[in-house]
Amino acid sequence: MTETVLRSSAEKRRFNFDMRALSPFIALIVLVIAGALINPDFLTASNLLNVVTRSAFIAIIAVGATFVIAGGGLDLSVGSMAALVAGIMILTLNGLGNPGYGTLALGMLAAVGLGAACGLANGLIVTFGRIEPFIVTLGTMGIFRSLVIWLAAGGTITLRNSELRELYRPVYFGDVAGVPVPILAFLAVAAVGALILYKTSFGRHVIAIGSNEDVARYSGVPIWRVRTLTYIIQGICVGIAILVYVPRLGSATPTTGLLWELQAITAVVIGGTALRGGLGRVWGTVVGAIILELVANIMVLSNFVSEFLVGAVQGAIIIIAMLVQRSLQRGR
């Protein structure tokens, strides 16, 4: 008797759990169907590949944001940070000059290193200053953005060496066995992110500080180190996203990365991670980023909506998608 009870309940629970984790995927499928109905061109491989490829930046950044948010933090500076990292990376490449893989590697190192450093700065101010992450990262958002504008002297920072550009181009436009490199990149980042969050003690600690910081402290979790590391991971993710971003247009402008922070956070929330912390769904986040890009794509492909109202429909779709998810979770 007890045995059967145990078994069946475990199954039911597994099912519940799956439902909850699955709901972003279901929302995605619903959207794809809607897209196909609206415009037959939507379902072409090239369109879908384009969309998923484009979502790579936000997806990669949002994987980092999953860590920060799961740990009970928030990072509004990622968009500006992305612009700054892109700018410095291009300036480094321009400075090094001679086209070659060595130059590229150095530039990439600079990007990821700078991202980590920016994240470290955020993390230290949040933990040691004990200021709301909202304010800290709003502040650094202004700082990073201004630095880009200043470096670009209001204009554009462009990768000047065209040979280097051609060398670098495949990192966005190339593919491996038909799968565009950016998609591979974000799958890799998500896989590593999921591994870290779910399978290491650091990941466990992130969830713990996000669930209840006091309990974590009383359990000997090194709060400051863990929290700072989440911001560093966020920074590194921004760096990686930029590695894929720069070869696309080869430039950084004062508008690069504008509002990416909101998109990243939205992707995280759509993916099922709660903003209050204590829960992180890396794969959900990736799906969230794809959903966002899909909605934008459908807007352009559809012919019903005046360009003035695109934003309204987009907003409404996102709310409806969340409502659908919620009702799926409740009707378990």
Binding site: I149, L249, T255
Partner: protein
């Protein structure tokens, strides 16, 4: 006998390519003017939106300026605030976008956004004659609205048809994204009106990736140096550009300084028209040292 004059310059913040150019030229001109005219102080202030610009005008007046050079975010919104400054006896130079009440301004250095759209439209009408065009809009603003309406008006009666338009926020990334989607949606596009050079760059990448041969050319706007260079070099995809020089702020500042330091009074309207840049005249528009 040294004359002490303070000129306040209020411009939009460097939030995209063109305004970035404006800020750059304003700062450079300020340095240059202060060197030329001892006793002249130039204070340059940027603002991210209309309401902040109104605030900045308040703050500039608090510093007791003799003249104001203003590139208003928006004519409707800033007419009142500029008028407040005027009431204190400040000399007013308005750049690019005219105020609702022209009697406020002493000098008007007019950019001409409707003309910008017309010139572009005429180019399509003359060179494409007929075919499908997609249009990229900037950020929803009066400038953008004036450009687009006049572009469409200029096309009237020709065989050129606007088959789609979307906002891409004068941003390369957004333009790239929208262009990819346009390419997926429309099997035949003959030409693209990017309406801005930043957006044109994003569009070019999307076209290159999509390997689409049907698109004959992309027309940008504003006269960014990279684009002017391409026109000069005879790039087939970029046969022309429409000028809208951010350097108009310099003109305005020079003229305003002249009001105080040269003997002739400088009043009236200076029109800096949107001009078509082609291979023939491109070198007149090419400033390799500008960041824009």
């Amino acid at each position: 006998q040294q004359k002490n004059v303070t000129i306040g310059v209020s411009i939009p913040a460097a939030t995209h390519g063109w305004t970035g150019g404006v800020v750059y030229h304003a700062q450079e001109t300020a340095k240059q003017l202060e060197k030329t005219y001892p006793g002249l102080k130039v204070v340059v202030k940027t603002s991210p939106d209309g309401a902040s610009q109104a605030n900045a005008l308040d703050d500039l007046t608090a510093q007791k300026i003799d003249a104001l050079v203003v590139l208003p975010f928006n004519s409707d919104e800033l007419t009142n605030p500029v008028n407040e400054v005027k009431k204190r006896g400040t000399f007013i130079t308005v750049v690019d976008r005219g105020l609702k009440d022209p009697s406020i301004q002493d000098i008007y250095v007019a950019g001409n956004n409707p003309e910008f759209g017309r010139v572009a439209g005429k180019y399509f009408k003359d060179n494409l004659k007929q075919g499908n065009v997609v249009v990229f809009r900037g950020i929803p603003t009066v400038i953008d609205e004036e450009r687009v309406t006049n572009f469409e008006k200029a096309l009237e009666g020709s065989g050129v048809k606007v088959i789609d338009k979307q906002y891409a926020n004068w941003n390369r990334d957004d333009a790239f994204r929208v262009m990819q989607d346009f390419l997926a949606k429309h099997p035949k596009i003959d030409a693209v009106w990017a309406s801005d050079d930043d957006m044109a760059l994003g569009i070019m990448e999307a076209i290159r990736q999509g390997k689409r041969e049907d698109i004959k050319f992309v027309l940008g706007g504003a006269g960014m140096k990279d684009m002017v260079k391409r026109v000069m070099d005879g790039d087939k995809m970029i046969p022309a550009d429409v000028s809208y020089p951010p350097a108009m702020i310099s003109t305005a500042m020079f003229v305003t300084a002249g009001q105080f330091f040269a003997n002739a009074p400088m009043r009236g309207t200076y029109v800096i028209n949107a001009e078509l840049i082609t291979k023939d005249n491109a070198k007149n528009f090419y400033y390799p040292d500008s960041p824009f």
